[in-house]
């Protein structure tokens, strides 16, 4: 951006002298149009989702997101009953929040640890390969994570981890012994954690490298150990950006679909136990949309999609602003 004014003055002069004004302005407007199409896409998605969820909206209103009704035969709370036309998104909101929260709980400490290791401790020779490996982790498609989780992670949890969790923490009520499949929130949270690790860690790395070296040197000059330098000189200065990175990871976790659909068990219920089957907003759409049983069902799924769209837009915008606040001036990167 250096020398911008000088550049545009020369350029304006040269462009003004050009003899292809029509072609030039045509080209200009074509490029503007393409750029504006990005706005257009967002607006179009929002409009379509709003229009097509009208039916569910007019029938259930705001209650769609928090109501429950009682099944006349079993006297149990019911939320999602396509056969009788009762729809409430509550179990999916619950499932999305719980699985994303579990994922953050596992992923954030690991991601920060990895970022600290890569920026402050790692021998130069290891840095490139390790960064490449985390980049690869981000490139693996969701469905392959799901495949791996179904055949490797879930059996592992079922045979070894879950019995141990039940024995050790069963008294809290969060790990009850009534789901022998190994599917459920714990499996979904773990696979989500693996999936959001790369983005959280690479953004954390970016904001940590944006902290000026003088900060590190100043703390070290006061006689600090390396860890004190990292915690006082680097992490404290980068904390807003790290929060942004975590929120961006949350945005990814909220909307992640395939891997979660494959391991969460897909039942529209709310259980206290984290080992129970559940369902998220994205997974119910993936599971039921193609064979929705009627207009109201489809419209209810559209409304869940609209809610997911709105939530991820807000979360992402907020996170971007936080990361920008820290790395402003440093070159932008695509994630």
């Amino acid at each position: 951006m250096a020398g911008k004014t000088e550049f545009s003055a020369i350029r304006a002069f040269l462009i003004a002298r050009g003899n292809s004004a029509i072609a030039d302005s045509g080209f200009h407007w074509l490029m503007v149009l393409s750029a504006l199409s990005i706005f257009g896409i967002v607006v179009l998605i929002a409009m379509e989702l709003v229009l097509r969820s009208q039916l569910a909206w007019s029938k259930f209103g705001f209650g769609f997101f928090f109501s429950a009704f009682v099944d006349p035969y079993t006297k149990l709370a019911m939320y999602w009953d396509p056969v009788n036309g009762h729809f409430s998104a509550l179990p999916f909101l619950y499932g999305t929040l719980v699985s994303s929260f579990l994922a953050l709980l596992i992923a954030v400490p690991l991601a920060i640890g990895l970022a600290v290791f890569l920026t402050e401790m790692c021998p130069r020779a290891l840095r490139g390969p390790l960064a490449f490996v985390t980049e690869l982790l981000a490139a693996i498609p969701s469905v392959i994570y799901g495949l791996w989780a179904v055949f490797i992670l879930v059996p592992l949890l079922r045979e070894h981890v879950n019995p141990w969790l039940i024995k050790l923490l069963g008294w809290t009520g969060f790990f009850s012994d009534d789901n022998p499949t190994g599917l459920g929130f714990v499996a979904a949270g773990m696979i989500l954690a693996i999936m959001i690790l790369p983005i959280v860690s690479s953004l954390t790395r970016e904001v940590m490298s944006a902290v000026p070296h003088s900060q590190r040197e100043a703390v070290l000059a006061l006689g600090a150990t390396r860890w004190e330098m990292i915690s006082m000189g680097v992490l404290r200065n980068a904390r807003i950006g790290i929060v942004g990175a975590v929120i961006l990871g949350l945005g990814r976790a909220l909307g992640e679909t395939m891997a979660v659909t494959m391991v969460i068990g897909n039942s529209p219920e709310i259980h206290r136990s984290l080992l129970a089957n559940g369902s998220t907003m994205a997974s119910v759409i993936a599971n039921e949309f193609a064979e929705a049983s009627g207009d109201l069902h489809l419209s209810a799924l559209m409304e869940i999609g609209l809610a997911l769209f709105a939530v991820t837009i807000v979360v992402n915008a907020f996170a971007r602003l936080l990361v920008w606040a820290v790395t402003r001036g440093a070159p932008a990167q695509v994630h």
């Binding site: 292809s20 490029m31 750029a35 290791f117 498609p141 759409i285 949309f289 695509v334």
Partner: protein, 282 residues
């Protein structure tokens, strides 16, 4: 005493950082080991040449899914790459520093974070509902929309690396601005722009969620773009959640093929970018 505690804390922190690095690398290694172990043992020539067989019959492959993925990605690229590159040109060449460009850049970043399943619903209501049936075209539209923000932002970054002197030299020779942008600036940055497109391509190549209710899948060949079409990630999903061992085997083989393609693309991108895309220009 005090300094001893500080040294211990320092050591503990270092140990934790190393431990978390190991814990991050471990699942990656596990995923790759299993993919290669399970996938390679089920890969065969028939996988690439035959269509899926009915349940209970041994053998069969994913020839139609591989071709279908190719077609879907082709349609996606036709939509996503031109629009994305033009958007990037606007951000870097015309809108530098303006409010409009900042807003578009921000929107592109946010759009990048919108879940792919939402893109699928959007493509469903924009294309599938008016057409009245699932189609290859609608799947391509969903993938194309997803490519736009990534292509746009990488193009912008690559164009920003081109020095102003190059643009001024072209304009000083009396070249009209549009020629200067297309044949000088974009041309100079083209290796970077191509790698950016490949990155976007590799990202959407593995997308399953937007295809479930657009491309829908197909057990045989599709003859028209208005018919449902099979796709590799979709087929992997369907086979993975099926109860048949034979299909699980094919799912692993499909996953191996998909991951090899994606890793190749990503490594190529990294190789090109790490060698300095625009070395000659600066």
């Amino acid at each position: 005493m005090r300094s001893r505690i500080r040294t211990l804390t320092d050591g503990a922190a270092t140990g934790l950082a190393v431990l978390s690095t190991v814990l991050v690398v471990a699942p990656l290694v596990a995923i790759f080991v299993y993919l290669i172990y399970k996938g390679a043992s089920s890969l065969s020539w028939a996988f690439f040449t035959e269509n899926p067989k009915p349940v209970g019959e041994a053998g069969g492959g994913m020839a139609n899914a591989i071709a279908g993925s190719g077609i879907l990605l082709g349609i996606g690229s036709l939509i996503g790459i031109p629009v994305g590159i033009s958007g990037g040109i606007f951000l870097a060449e015309f809108g530098r520093g303006t409010k409009l460009a900042n807003a578009i850049r921000f929107t592109a970043d946010v759009l990048n974070g919108v879940p792919s399943i939402v893109m699928g619903i959007a493509a469903y209501s924009l294309v599938v509902v008016p057409q009245g049936h699932f189609s290859a075209f609608s799947g391509g539209v969903a993938l194309g929309i997803m490519m736009i923000p990534t292509v746009c932002r990488t193009t912008e970054e690559m164009l920003l690396m081109v020095p102003n002197a190059v643009r001024e030299a072209a304009l000083a020779l009396g070249v009209p601005n549009w020629r200067s942008v297309l044949s000088i600036t974009v041309r100079t940055a083209s290796p970077g722009i191509i790698t950016g497109c490949m990155l976007a391509f590799a990202r959407v190549a593995g997308e399953t969620a937007p295809l479930i209710f657009t491309a829908f899948g197909n057990v045989g060949w599709s003859e028209r773009l208005s018919e449902p079409i099979a796709a590799l990630p979709l087929q992997i999903y369907v086979y993975a959640i099926s109860p048949y061992d034979e299909w699980h085997r094919l799912a692993w083989a499909g996953a191996l093929v998909l991951i090899v393609l994606i890793v190749l693309a990503v490594s190529l991108v990294r190789f090109v970018t790490s060698r300095g895309v625009l070395k000659g220009a600066s």
